[in-house]
């Protein structure tokens, strides 16, 4: 039997105390509404629109995020280059940035006349549009994805890549044949976490895309708008959907055994 140790007991107590608080908070979301109402709200026109827009933008954003996160994570893990520290800090910055401030920064950038005209010339407009929802989601979740990818590549023995190159494979061939297959758990975790972040992004979307009813309305915006109108049923339903996405994401993340 282990001897009584107050430090050990305190640590365990604090961990369990916070767990109980979180379970209570999350549980209350499920206790308050009636299942019948949730089901009805789920099939309402607004919820269907919001759900569809969230899924579509979430999937597109996750795809874009992963296209960037893989090479960014690999570069930060494997290569030494000028300004590496600065690059890492700036890419990680949105993790610590308030979403509203990030949204404001993006609004100022993409709302700038010159940038706006330039983007419009290639068919892009991020200000108060659905494209803006994607841009907001991408900028919010990219730091998380690139951090996961960096730590994934950090865990892969670089000597495997060295050996592959000594056997005649180029850097790109080695990346495809060795690094990517070995990073599959990290890629899965990164994709799932990115998707959950994209679906759940609120502040950045609100500022850049506008959060307009049935136009740029994604699930967090539905929650916000309905709370504002006093429509708790719809707000709770979107909350439950967001929570379900988060649960699935965390479950897959834990299974993939990759830590941030």
């Amino acid at each position: 039997m282990q001897r009584l140790n107050y430090f050990r007991l305190t640590c365990i107590f604090l961990a369990q105390f916070v767990t109980v608080l979180l379970v209570l908070a999350i549980g209350s979301l499920l206790i308050v509404p009636e299942f019948k109402d949730v089901w009805q709200n789920l099939w309402s026109e607004e919820m269907q629109y919001s759900l569809k827009l969230s899924m579509v933008t979430g999937l597109i954003s996750t795809g874009i995020v992963m296209v960037f996160a893989l090479p960014i994570g690999y570069a930060l893990s494997r290569f030494e280059f000028f300004g590496k520290g600065f690059t890492k800090t700036i890419i990680d910055l949105p993790v610590a940035f308030p979403e509203l401030v990030l949204g404001l920064c993006l609004l100022l950038l993409f709302g700038n006349a010159f940038v706006k005209t330039l983007l419009e010339s290639i068919g892009l407009n991020f200000v108060f549009t659905k494209q803006g929802v994607v841009a907001a989601q991408v900028f919010t979740s990219l730091p998380y994805a690139s951090r996961i990818m960096k730590s994934t590549f950090d865990y892969i023995n670089p000597r495997l890549e060295f050996v592959s190159r000594s056997l005649g494979y180029s850097m790109l061939e080695t990346f495809i044949r060795v690094s990517l297959p070995l990073a599959k758990n990290g890629i899965l975790a990164s994709t799932v976490i990115s998707f959950a972040r994209c679906i759940g992004t609120f502040g950045t979307v609100l500022i850049l895309a506008g959060g307009s009813y049935m136009k740029t309305e994604v699930l967090p915006v539905t929650l916000y708008l309905n709370i504002s109108y006093g429509n708790m049923g719809m707000a709770l339903t979107s909350g439950i959907v967001l929570m379900a996405v988060s649960f699935i994401a965390i479950y897959i993340f834990e299974k993939a055994e990759v830590s941030l």
Binding site: N157, R159, L160, F162, V163, S164, R165, S166, L167, G168, Y169, S170, M171, V178, P181, L182
Partner: protein, 374 residues
């Protein structure tokens, strides 16, 4: 013409510097690189293979400077201490991985033949993590050999093996290398690897190659106290003068030793005697031509397992000798015994000093007696 010439290679990696390393190897040479941890041995190998870009120098392989070639163009194989087997491949796929870029006829047959020669043909469909250390080591070797590299680099490939497996691995490696006339550079901390496999040896310290040469030359004639300590040699300060019939006389304080090596003029220098080249007898041996016989007191006996290290106090200096358990038992050797040390003239090397810690400082006892540096 040399197969490999490394000329003035300098690599800067973080706070570590590989400084001005130069050496050359002929086809079929087996070089062991010995040195303390952090001496830059692995960085030297990885600079030769192209994983790090050196700041300056030349790497000439088969008459062509490969300094600017990427690793995939150099055809240099490497076997690491941790074997670096692809965990997502089977043994067969790991070995075949090196052949993937080469168009080789009957590649499956060749892989199987290679696997058979290294006794891993029964493991071909297993994943690396299910193999023992010795098996993984042989798979890594098979993978490197399958690609038919022009030069094979090995970074402490036996360090994780038990003594018995290590011995078997050495035997298999020696056969594989001899069969293919492969040129090898092998980093090791184990002198037995050098004894059994190498014909050349290099010693590294703080990013520099402090001695390079034939195996026996380096192990018998270290250029510094540091190297002597590393390769385990007795160093004695001596006054050396020409002897009869092309020999030299090394005078160590009041004791004279005859060396087979010749010297043209008297000078102060250092002689080196390997501990295993000192024979021990309790009775005075009949004087035989070419042998030096010295009387000594046995001041300590250290049991190193199958060998014993004896510390011998001569008239005014000390040396270590290594003898077998049988020797100790046969002569009933014990502390304070008077014994005779027998050293062949061929086994006394006259050393030259070239590195930053010159041999003149090797005998550093306060009373200026020559002493054991090993």
């Amino acid at each position: 013409m040399s197969l490999l010439e490394v000329i003035g290679l300098s690599t800067h990696l973080g706070e570590f510097c590989l400084k001005d390393v130069s050496f050359s190897l002929d086809q079929g040479d087996y070089l062991t690189i010995i040195g303390p941890t952090g001496a830059g041995k692995t960085i030297l190998l990885e600079s030769i293979i192209g994983f790090w870009t050196p700041e300056k120098g030349k790497i000439i392989l088969q008459d062509r400077d490969i300094f600017h070639d990427p690793p995939e163009k150099r055809r240099i194989g490497i076997v690491y201490q941790d074997y670096a087997l692809m965990p997502h491949f089977t043994v067969l796929k790991n070995i075949a991985y090196g052949l993937g870029k080469q168009k080789i006829q009957n590649s499956a047959k060749k892989i199987k033949a290679l696997a058979r020669s290294l006794h891993i043909d029964h493991l071909l469909h297993r994943k690396p993590h299910t193999l023992s250390g010795g098996e993984q080591q042989r798979v890594a070797l098979a993978r490197a050999l399958a690609a038919k590299p022009r030069l094979l680099l090995m970074d402490e490939p036996f360090s994780a093996l038990d003594p018995q497996t290590r011995q078997e691995a050495r035997r298999l490696l020696k056969k594989a290398v001899q069969d293919t006339s492969m040129t090898v550079i092998h980093i090791t901390h184990n002198m037995n690897d050098a004894w059994m496999l190498a014909n050349k040896t290099a010693i590294m310290k703080s990013g520099r190659l402090v001695q390079f040469g034939g195996l026996m030359d380096v192990l018998s004639r270290p250029r510094s106290k540091f190297i002597a300590g590393f390769v385990g040699v007795n160093l004695l300060k001596a006054h050396i003068k020409p002897g009869l019939n092309g020999t030299s006389i090394a005078r160590v304080l009041d004791t004279e030793l005859t060396c087979q090596e010749s010297t043209d003029f008297p000078h102060s220098g250092v002689i080196a005697v390997r501990p295993e080249n000192i024979g021990i007898s309790k009775s005075q041996p009949v004087l035989v031509k070419d042998w030096n016989v010295l009387e000594a007191t046995l001041i300590s006996i250290i049991d190193n397992g199958n060998l014993f290290r004896l510390a011998l106090q001569f008239e005014k200096f000390k040396m270590d000798a290594v003898v077998t358990r049988h020797n100790v038992a046969f002569f009933s050797l014990k502390k304070e015994d008077r014994v005779y040390a027998i050293i062949h003239q061929d086994h006394i090397g006259i050393c030259e000093s070239q590195d930053s810690q010159p041999l003149e400082n090797a005998s550093c006892q306060a009373d200026h007696q020559a002493h054991l540096c090993a």
